[in-house]
Amino acid sequence: MSAPILRIEDLRVALPAWSDRPLAVDGVSLAIARNEILCVVGESGSGKSVMAKAVLGLLPAPHVRVVGGAIHFEGRDLLRAEEEEMREVRGGRISMIFQEPMVALNPLMKVGAQTDEIFRVHTDLDAPARRQRVVELFSDVHLPDPERIPDSYPHELSGGQRQRVMIAMALALEPALIIADEPTTALDVTTQAQILTLLKELQGRHGTAVLFITHDFGVVAEVADRVVVMRNGRLVETGATGEVLRAPQADYTKALVAAVPSLHPRHASAPDQPAPALALRGLNKVYGGRAGLFGGPGRRVHAVRDVDLEVPRGRSVALVGESGSGKSTLARCVVGLERADGGDIRLDGENIAGFSRRQLKPYRHLVQMVFQDPFASLNPRHRVGDIIALGPTLRGTPKREAWDRARELLGMVGLQPEAVGRYPHEFSGGQRQRIGIARALAMEPALILADEPVSALDVSVQKQVLDLLDDLRQSLGLSMLFITHDLRVAAHVCEEIAVMRHGAIVERGPTSEIFADPRHEYTRQLLDSVPGKGWEH
């Protein structure tokens, strides 16, 4: 390894007094060489982002502050540098890419001007020269129409384009080091693949060192030269990517690697096709299209287009698609939150499409949802028992009976029955998702509609929740429509897969067949985009 350009020694960062632990980063030492991509992997709360922000002096002072250690960069200790000196380093020698490009860009400023600012602050270039550089940068990161894009506002670009702008900004002054904090987490899988390719290409071309922070071992397998695993602010393991992924040493790393769902598709349990719990025929949903009072015709969005889909009883079907593919709209139609504009929705044989609210009422309990965000989907002012028992009570179950059942269900999802008396904020994300599952089960549904139920969870918790769903499905004979953007998760839990794009289902069939022989071009593209697809553990 050549001489490191960044060396962190025994870094310690203190959290405010009211936090659950005193140190966010506790004695971390690491080094990055020129032209190297170092991945820092860890679950939420591992201190990986805090460490990255400490390098640039971006910690939210005065609550979070560095209390010890040193950060050596280009012959000086950044922790002891003057503010003036740090400003030269920021953007100039070290730049940063953030997770959410939408909120990381100023919404009121054109992206060209935001990039231009770096040159204005750090160089003496005049306006035309700066503009020239911005256009060059934008074409460097393969933005379409680099002459015109600088005059766009962030909201006029797609997520991937916004992240390309962020990368262009990071590259502006040819920094020695780029810190990328989960730069692809908020992106769709195909976009993620493109951005990762771009980052690697540019890093190779400019010889920049990259400190890449992620929670995703697939991404690690894709980009990293070396890996650092962090947990609770401490280093757990360091090593070359291949070694750590193939033969992890620390127990924690082993558990993490094992928790990553494998891309091995699950086989359908039996070849026979039981009667469908849910059957969709020619389902359509169109938004907008009505003319305003004085305006012209509004914009029409065909969110769901002629969808045919079955969920056989006792089976699990994955609906896979990227953001905007219409999968959530389809779910809302099935649950009855949206009225379909055409087609059949058969629940246990009964067509409920076009039912009024009153007509729908006896069927409502048949489909229950498990939501994506376990923090927003439980009422914070209700006790867990109330949350679970409310549905059955509304259907006429006596309150005492409903509460007894709630205790039983909490046991089934792996929580203490006493949890009925507590409030949602007392539970972790994974536990809340278990409560959400218990809530859905309380209605004795024929179909569970899980809308990205694990995408907000850490990988180890994700595995537990997926296993729980699987166990429950088998012991209770539940049918499940599982909406996800993650092909690994889909392969892990579902016997069948339907791939959705632009509102239509482009391919569907048994998981194993689709993985072995994807017929539609888009399916192939999705499979190719899965990060770390070549890595098997």
């Binding site: 953030f98 100023n106 009121l108 750090h122 909201h155 009072l293 004085f294 305006g295 914009r299």
Partner: protein
Amino acid sequence: MTGLRLLRYIVRRLLQAVPVILGVTVLCFLLLQLAPGDLAEVLAGESGGASAEYIQDLRARYGLDKPVLVQLGVYVKNVIFFDLGFSFRHSANVSDLLLERMMPTLLLMGTTLVLSVGVGALSGLFAAIWVRTWRDHIISLGAIVAYATPLFWVGLMLILVFSVWLDWFPTSGMENVVMFHEGWDRVVDIAHHLVLPAITLSLFYLALYARLMRATMLEQRGLDYVTTAKAKGLTERQITFRHVLRNALLPVVTMAGVQVGALLGGSVVVESVFAWPGLGQLAFEALFSRDFNLLLGIFFISACLVVFVNIVVDVIYVLLDPRIRVDE
């Protein structure tokens, strides 16, 4: 292209304003019918009592004996042709009266708006820059005091301190009529008279903007794009003025639109306290003399003003925030 779209948007909003204003007019007309007493009774009462026949006669003369719906129809028809009727109390056309009184009110409102938005936003800005220092505490404390004090009391106290005790400003009126000032002397004189009523009327909203601005600035400073700006190597000052300020102004602009509506209400009190010859004072008089034509005229003008200002605020919003699309 954008300019043309914006123009189309403005025209559309103006067209949409017509039914709104007519609706307000009809509503006000019907509401006034609910008030006990009418012009005929007031006139009769002022002349020391009159016979029932005389009152009946008066009603017939002013068209008050017709069914309410007929009166309404006549009124709305006249309004559509911009004829606001005749004020029998002032023996003048309502439109002439309104035109005469509108300028003082607009002057007071405009000054108030500039004062409260300008000074309010600036104090909020500085409070946020100096957050948690003694300067921030002084601004925040001042804002809370101004926020909690009733309007009329502030007016009376300002008169007491600055007019009666210190004799810096005149107690009432819009200009010194006996001096017959002209040109710049008149402008200075009016400005001199304007100080106290404008301060009184703006104090509440000034405090509100200061608090709003401070809170939004602090909120925006915690957002990711500010971290990005910092990571680009910008100074605190550059971040505040290039990035945060414009974002923080958006809620203040929204609030300013709401304020304009409330200003007309507040000006009734302030114009009475300071004897400012504006619409508020006129409305106050018209209400007590049951001069319904005049009152309806004032309502009509107020409605037009509020709707117009709302359109202006929305256009400013479109110009400030590129995320707002005008074509839908």
